[in-house]
Subunit: 416 residues, 2 copies
């Protein structure tokens, strides 16, 4: 089946916002096994939108439209789509009630008349309730062609797609798609691909897709089968083989788990408390950890010691060490980690000190040189990295590698 | 003039990456005053790409294509575009030399044969040197239609567009476009629009466009004139009027300056040192500040005190205060700011304590309640906010508001 995405909105054509909806939907369509050849963005203009929809209905089996479902005169998507598919608009009592409830819950003083426009739906359409906004989603079917109309705001689109559209599409596929995500830290994308080239080449079901992220590579293993159990059975041996090859470099096989969540889980499991002592990352590792809800059980405090004076006073780094080796050195990183753990009375402290640039690099210590150290119950492990890219990239890679260092240290000696 | 964007790439159709190039180019086209009605994404397929390009050349004056210029067989953009415009490919000696230099500089052991494909250009095309990669950009003109072909990687596309394509397009416009960005913190988008509705409605040259960001609104004032001086003269009175209306809420009129850069500049100007003490933002404010190159002159240290114990030990918050008012309270925020400044021996300390959720909210203290305090040379200013949105959104808004609080406090009493 071929799917095509149509985004409606002037703010996209003007470059005011990035089209993240399209990426979201494209990834889901790929996951569902649809072929996608075209994505189109068009404005709220009757003639141009109609031409785009007609072309899409000719060349694709399924079209998914986002945006232009609201209450204003500019919002035309439903009207144009209904006309292109030869369906008339009728008022839907269920949607009218849903809108009334929305207005009551959101304490509207008066309901603007034009809002009732949203209660009109193409006759015979499947209505998708919008639990996070006003305009409902719609599924229109005619002559083996399907149009799915969804609201533009991501906060309405994402849950509506995940909870209502995805299961509907999957059911229609008459087969079940199951996918597992393998998240790998510590290998580049080409290295990962090299290590599983034989698997990728020999597999058609399940398929394996790679996604490069900052300092991570994600592998998605997707199987199609008659039911979930069969699909799982197809995935299992491939997942086992991949686990065998990447071992501890895999930090999770759960799509919803991020690296910082994996680290927090490990800390909880081993009943360890943690602190951070950052220089060039300036609090990014702490901020990432604090992004995990419930982190307060294990994360005690973070320190950003940007000046040498703060490194000495807050973390007990020796002046001789700074003078002999400099702030960006393995020796200083080790002292920061040990001092940070002692000072904050935590089992673990991770330290980062490096040159994120653009200035401050020398021949001996170029921009991109970053040392990180992890102190776990007194044992300090130090790593040296030479990152490429601009200031942002260097800092982001440092943050991820620091989190991974904590993970690897706990795995190695967490139960000591 | 109408412009259309065509993105070429399977990774876009599969949803592996978000199409940020399109936003970048759309914003530039809007700035140049072009009308844009369509944006299309298509894969590396000869027939489909040709149809898309032919349609675009029919309905738009200028088409800008990104991606598909590389050395592999999949890369077809140049070949298809040349055919659609009836131009033949010839080897360009200048580009061949450029490629040879690239291989030498990047220490290629051997140059794969297919790389020379990139030296072929449509006869009569304007060649744009790629200073950050291999494939050159191309400008093709025929029968009042223009096609601009650009490499897909943002690191190659952005500088090539800014340095070579934008000036070329601007020159062709036979007029100069000058724009100024006004960045406002402390008003929502609709409030900003209300305050300048009369200006937006009455202006055609310059135009005013608003862009909503997290806790900020940006206004772009764009004037078109015969030369830069005339354009500046058109902008000046509008800029003055806007400055009069928003006063200190405007933190910069320089496009390149971010809120954290404005804060660092103010600190430098007033010779003030600063520290941060964060709870729910967990280091985000520190990380944002450290993103400013050269911040080490003014930013001394950051503390992330997630546990109450750390708040007491590191910042001297009184146990009675925590017991009487709780960690999330105006009183605690004030003590953190004052204690943080004393402890880190800085002129300024900004403190944030709040409930970012999703758990931990109560009727009296709901999720989204955030207190921030700024201590400047002993004087403490406290603010209370009720933010909406998920954990990420609450934390991001808190970070921005905290930076703005520092800015406003310095403006008010920086020279005291």
């Amino acid at each position: 089946m071929t799917a095509e995405l149509i985004s409606v909105g002037t703010e996209l054509l003007m470059g005011n916002i990035v089209n993240s909806n399209t990426q979201f939907l494209a990834e889901k369509c790929a996951l569902l096994g649809f072929d996608m050849y075209y994505q189109v963005t068009v404005g709220d203009n009757y003639g141009r939108m109609k031409a785009v929809i007609e072309t899409a209905l000719e060349r694709s089996d399924l079209i998914i439209l986002t945006g232009g479902l609201g209450p204003t005169e500019d919002d035309l998507t439903k009207e144009v789509c209904a006309e292109a598919m030869g369906m008339e608009l009728v008022e839907d009592p269920h949607t009218r009630k849903h809108l009334e409830a929305f207005f009551v819950n959101n304490i509207y003083k008066e309901i603007p008349d034009n809002n009732w426009k949203m209660a009109a739906v193409p006759k015979g359409a499947l209505v998708l309730d919008n639990h996070n906004g006003m305009a409902p989603g719609l599924i229109l079917e005619r002559d083996n062609k399907t149009a799915i109309l969804l609201p533009g705001p991501p906060g309405e689109l994402y849950p509506m797609f995940n909870d209502q559209v995805f299961p509907w599409l999957q059911k229609r596929q008459q087969s079940v798609l199951v996918s597992r995500m393998v998240k790998i830290c510590g290998c580049g994308e080409s290295q990962v691909e090299d290590m599983i080239l034989d698997l990728i080449d020999s597999q058609t079901n399940p398929t394996i897709a790679t996604y490069a992220k900052t300092a991570e590579v994600h592998l998605r293993i997707t199987a199609r089968a008659g039911d979930r159990e069969q699909a799982e059975a197809l995935i299992e041996p491939v997942l086992e083989e991949i686990s065998r090859r990447f071992k501890e470099k895999i930090y999770t096989t759960d799509e919803k788990v991020s690296l910082e969540m994996a680290v927090v889980e490990l800390l909880k499991k081993h009943k360890l408390t943690m602190s951070t002592a950052e220089s060039c990352t300036g609090g990014m590792v702490a901020a990432k950890l604090v992004n995990v809800s419930g982190v307060s059980q294990v994360f005690m405090q973070g320190m950003v010691t940007y000046s040498n004076e703060a490194k000495m006073r807050l973390l007990g780094v020796k002046e001789e060490t700074l003078r002999a080796y400099g702030a960006v050195s393995a020796q200083t990183a080790a002292e920061i980690a040990a001092g940070g753990a002692a000072m904050s009375r935590t089992d673990v402290c991770v330290a980062i000190t490096g040159l994120a640039g653009p200035d401050g690099g020398t021949d001996k210590k170029p921009v991109g040189l970053v040392y990180m150290a992890c102190c776990l119950k007194g044992k300090v492990t130090v790593q040296e990295y030479h990152f490429k890219g601009n200031r942002d990239k260097i800092r982001e890679q440092s943050m991820m590698k620091a989190l991974d260092l904590v993970r690897l240290c706990i795995l190695e000696q967490g139960d000591c």
